[in-house]
């Protein structure tokens, strides 16, 4: 597929050369530009911490896709962040298995500890809390994903311990 490095004149670019190269490399693995959208967005998010609209536009430019198409994908998945997020990202699963095993209580506990609602970031920018759909680890429900790591069979005590480890 065609990959371009076209730059809009007069606009500072958000994505670094390294990220751009990374996306171009990823693109080699796929037949269609659409297929590259998700890994490309991850690459952009890895650099910037989140996906500002401008980053989405740049990814779209690189892949020669309409920005709306890339943006719509970014907005669909909970693991792409379209607003700045905290240093640590806590995603609590609230789908069926976890819900049956007390996810609601876990969520409530985390909310109280961090004093924020799902979808928010603490004032010190340290923690972001998300409510997510099934993480695919029902065997250890209730489950949360924290900074990409899975934590299962959660109890309030276990949550306290983890949060302490993260410097709360």
């Amino acid at each position: 597929m065609g990959v371009t490095q076209a730059q809009q004149p007069g606009k500072a670019r958000l994505l670094s050369e390294a990220t751009r190269e990374n996306i171009s490399r990823i693109a080699l693995n796929y037949d269609s530009a659409q297929s590259v959208v998700m890994p490309a967005l991850y690459a952009a998010q890895e650099q910037l911490g989140y996906l500002p609209d401008q980053a989405i536009v740049e990814v779209a430019e690189i892949l020669q896709l309409p920005p709306s198409e890339v943006g719509a994908v970014a907005s669909f998945y909970t693991m792409y962040f379209r607003r700045p997020v905290g240093q640590h990202i806590i995603s609590v699963c609230e789908t069926l298995s976890c819900a049956l095993r007390g996810a609601e209580g876990i969520m409530e506990h985390v909310r109280r500890k961090l004093n924020i609602k799902a979808g928010e970031t603490t004032a010190d920018g340290k923690f972001s809390l998300n409510s997510v759909e099934c993480l695919g680890a029902c065997d250890m429900a209730p489950v949360a994903m924290i900074d990409g790591e899975y934590y299962g069979n959660l109890t309030e005590e276990k949550v306290d311990e983890i949060l302490m480890g993260l410097g709360l």
Binding site: I56, S68, G71, A72
Partner: protein, 718 residues
């Protein structure tokens, strides 16, 4: 049946205990339609790909464990489908109950109320009540997606017809689904407006009142409106529209009235949203006559007497001192009567519909029309293997043809786009030839390989290797369709351009079964008709030369008087004569050349020297302000008549609302003037004029209002 001829297999199935035979691959929904069995739908639309998203159309199929969406399930031999069982009824009820969970049910204040598929389906198939007691979704509303299209997200049922239109039809990818699950909504990219030439179609596609027209919003309820089957007055495509007027008093909207050969069911935004002008308070509603230097309202009789007297006196001074200008925005009937008036009562052949210069090309194009050189149609885009556009930015000149071309490219037709700059459609082409303006002839010679690619490159500035790609493509094509700018053909190079096109046709249609079709591009509404009607210097109706004995005899038999054979002046020549104070009288109908951005001042100066200037128009234009008598004309929405589009299709407009003020259709005005000049015209209705047109215009000989009907007919030669 076509299916049988092409060896397509037929499938017989049973729907609600009735048998139907349809081609293999037919959707259950469409098979049911053939039996007159209604299945409710929301996301399904004939022009869009099936996605089976809304589940409204689910039906029971014997042997399948679960109900299936009939819009996404193909028929099978022996299939037994049931759409009217208690189970299906319950499912439809359930689907509607879910769709209504978040719907605000604000039908009394919704534009769609009264013509809304969601409302209709709910009444027919929905539950009496909702069990949902929670809080419905709330959004800020309405959200202006653009100056023309508003979105009420609370009413949206996420059928995604609008999203798919932007993807599959217009290709501009403007609207998308954002977010997910119960949070999802339709939007453009953050911060962008819905910027498309075709955005209004999404309003018509919307099966609820979510997408709204800022022009129509809150203007009328469906039961207050009556629609007239008419033609969009805004360009040379002649898209078929329904003109909806409220209480017969004001035009409130244009809707598409699908003509599968002209518009494919779409309208462009320019056409759709410029619907308000017939209602304008600034319209002329009473005749004006200059008294003590001021245009003063007068009665019709006085105005018409003045006009007749003024024209009579001027004509007495000599037929070379009077001239008439018709208009690409007036009907064939009106343009026809204008030339008839001048060619009979006033003895003048000085007729045109523009003040623009006409090079030698004007005569060449007339000759080409007479001999039937132009034979291409818009709908040929559905079969052509190669489509070659020369010198027209189709997206602006004939907006809806832009969609036809994209559709053609989508099915694999090769688009060769020759235009000086990289316009939008050029991006969709397989071969883009950005030539230097003025080098069109050499470009075509190069494509026809009658000169070498290198030589063509030297003239046109297009790289030789690009030009060299064309001849093979044309040779390989069974059918080639050419859209060539009428403007280019009218230019000085017109003769040579037509000759070059003839050579190209010989090259592209040299093989067995090969053909090349040519369609001229005229962006203005009825340029084709104005030319057909004889508003060309030197040509009677039907492109027959002035002085042609046979033509004069046929015309005389109908007109009962010999048509003028005086030497004609073109618009440009009339203007030059006016500037020198040599025009005694001019009649300008439906044209406002003084308002042109370039050259308007010179035209105004020349027209102010015309001894007696009559302007018939709908508004007091800058041109009308110079007139001695101003006559208030009807807009297209208040009269009958025909327009001829860029592919020579004659189509009917019909009155949609009552006539504003004291306005009259131009054909009536002209008849009144003719009567005062001693002519015995007796046209009771526009149709009578058309019958006469058919008698004196060979290309129109086989047409009448009845055969033109709802879909129009192309004229033909011989």
């Amino acid at each position: 049946m076509i299916g049988e001829e092409s060896g397509e297999t037929q499938v017989t199935l049973t729907i609600d205990d009735r048998q139907v035979t349809v081609p293999n691959g037919t959707l259950i929904l469409k098979a049911a339609e053939q039996l007159g069995i209604e299945i409710p739908v929301f996301c399904y639309h004939d022009k869009l790909k099936s996605i089976g998203a809304c589940r409204m159309c689910i039906v029971d199929v014997e042997g399948l464990p679960k109900p299936v969406p009939s819009c996404a399930t193909e028929v099978k031999e022996g299939m037994v489908v049931r759409t009217r069982t208690p189970e299906v009824a319950k499912m439809w009820e359930g689907v509607l109950e879910f769709l209504l969970v978040n719907h605000p049910l604000d039908c009394p204040v919704c534009d769609r109320g009264g013509e809304c598929p969601l409302q209709d389906n709910t009444f027919k198939y929905g539950p009496r009540d909702s069990r949902f007691t929670g809080e419905k979704r709330h959004f800020a509303k309405p959200v202006p997606l653009s100056a023309l299209v508003l979105l009420d997200r609370e009413r949206c049922i996420m059928c995604t017809r609008c999203v798919r239109f932007c993807q599959e039809i217009s290709g501009d990818e403007q609207l998308k689904i954002w977010d997910r699950g119960h949070g999802e909504y339709i939007d453009t990219f953050p911060g962008q407006t819905f910027d498309s030439n075709f955005s209004g179609n999404t309003i018509e596609l919307c099966p609820v009142g979510a997408l709204l027209s800022s022009v129509f919003r809150f203007r009328a309820r469906p039961w207050e409106m009556k629609g007239a089957a008419s033609i969009c007055p805004h360009c040379g495509v002649g898209c078929n529209i329904r003109v909806d007027a409220r209480n017969n008093r004001e035009v409130v909207r244009f809707l598409s009235r699908e003509n599968a050969e002209v518009d494919d069911g779409w309208l462009c935004d320019r056409g759709r949203f410029d619907s308000d002008f017939p209602n304008s308070g600034a319209r002329l509603t009473k005749p004006l006559a200059r008294k003590n230097g001021e245009l003063t309202p007068v009665e019709w009789d006085e105005a018409l007497d003045l006009v007749a007297e003024g024209l009579r006196r001027a004509a007495e001074a000599g037929p070379d001192q009077v001239g008439g200008l018709g208009s690409p925005w007036r009907t064939n009937e009106e343009n026809y009567l204008l030339q008839k008036l001048f060619r009979t009562a006033l003895g003048s052949n000085s007729l045109d519909f523009t003040f623009d210069g006409r090079g030698g090309g004007s005569d060449a194009i007339a000759e080409a029309f007479r001999e039937g050189f132009f034979d291409g149609s818009i709908s040929d885009t559905t079969t052509a293997n190669v489509i070659f556009v020369l010198g027209s930015d189709i997206s602006i000149d004939l907006p809806v043809v832009d969609l036809w071309l994209k559709k053609a490219v989508g099915r694999g037709a090769k688009l060769i786009y020759a235009y000086p700059t990289a316009v939008e459609l050029a991006q969709h082409s397989q071969l883009f030839l950005p030539y230097a303006p003025g080098s069109e002839v050499e470009l075509i010679e190069g494509l026809a390989a009658s000169i070498s690619a290198e030589e063509a490159a030297a003239h046109t500035g297009v790289p030789a290797e690009l030009i060299a790609k064309a001849p093979q493509a044309l040779m390989d094509a069974r059918q080639t369709l050419v859209f060539v700018s009428g403007r280019l053909l009218e230019d000085e190079i017109g003769h040579r351009l037509l000759d070059a096109l003839r050579r190209l046709r010989r090259a592209a249609a040299s093989g067995e079964g090969q053909e090349m079709l040519v369609c001229a591009v005229f962006p203005d509404t009825n340029t084709q008709g104005a030319m057909d009607m004889g508003l060309l210097p030197g040509r009677y109706p039907g492109y027959r030369r002035i002085g042609d004995e046979l033509a004069m005899q046929t015309i005389e038999r109908t007109w009962l008087t010999q048509p003028a054979s005086a030497p004609p002046m073109s618009g440009e020549q009339m203007l030059a004569a006016a500037a020198e104070g040599r025009m005694q009288a001019m009649y300008i109908m439906g044209l406002d050349p003084v308002s042109r951005p370039v050259g308007g001042e010179e035209i105004a100066e020349a027209l102010s020297k015309v001894g007696f200037l009559v302007v018939a128009d709908t508004f007091l234009t800058k041109t009308a302000e110079l007139a001695h008598v101003v006559l208030p004309s009807c807009t297209f929405a208040e009269k009958d008549g025909t327009l001829t589009n860029t592919e020579r299709r004659v189509q009917r407009i019909r009155p949609a609302m009552r006539i504003a003020g004291e306005c009259r259709p131009d054909w009536v005005i002209l008849s009144e003037i003719a009567r005062r000049l001693g002519m015995e015209w007796s046209y009771g209705k526009a149709e009578d004029v058309f019958e006469e047109i058919a008698r004196v215009t060979p290309q129109y000989a086989w047409l009448d209002y009845e055969s033109i009907g709802e879909k129009g007919l192309q004229w033909r030669t011989g």
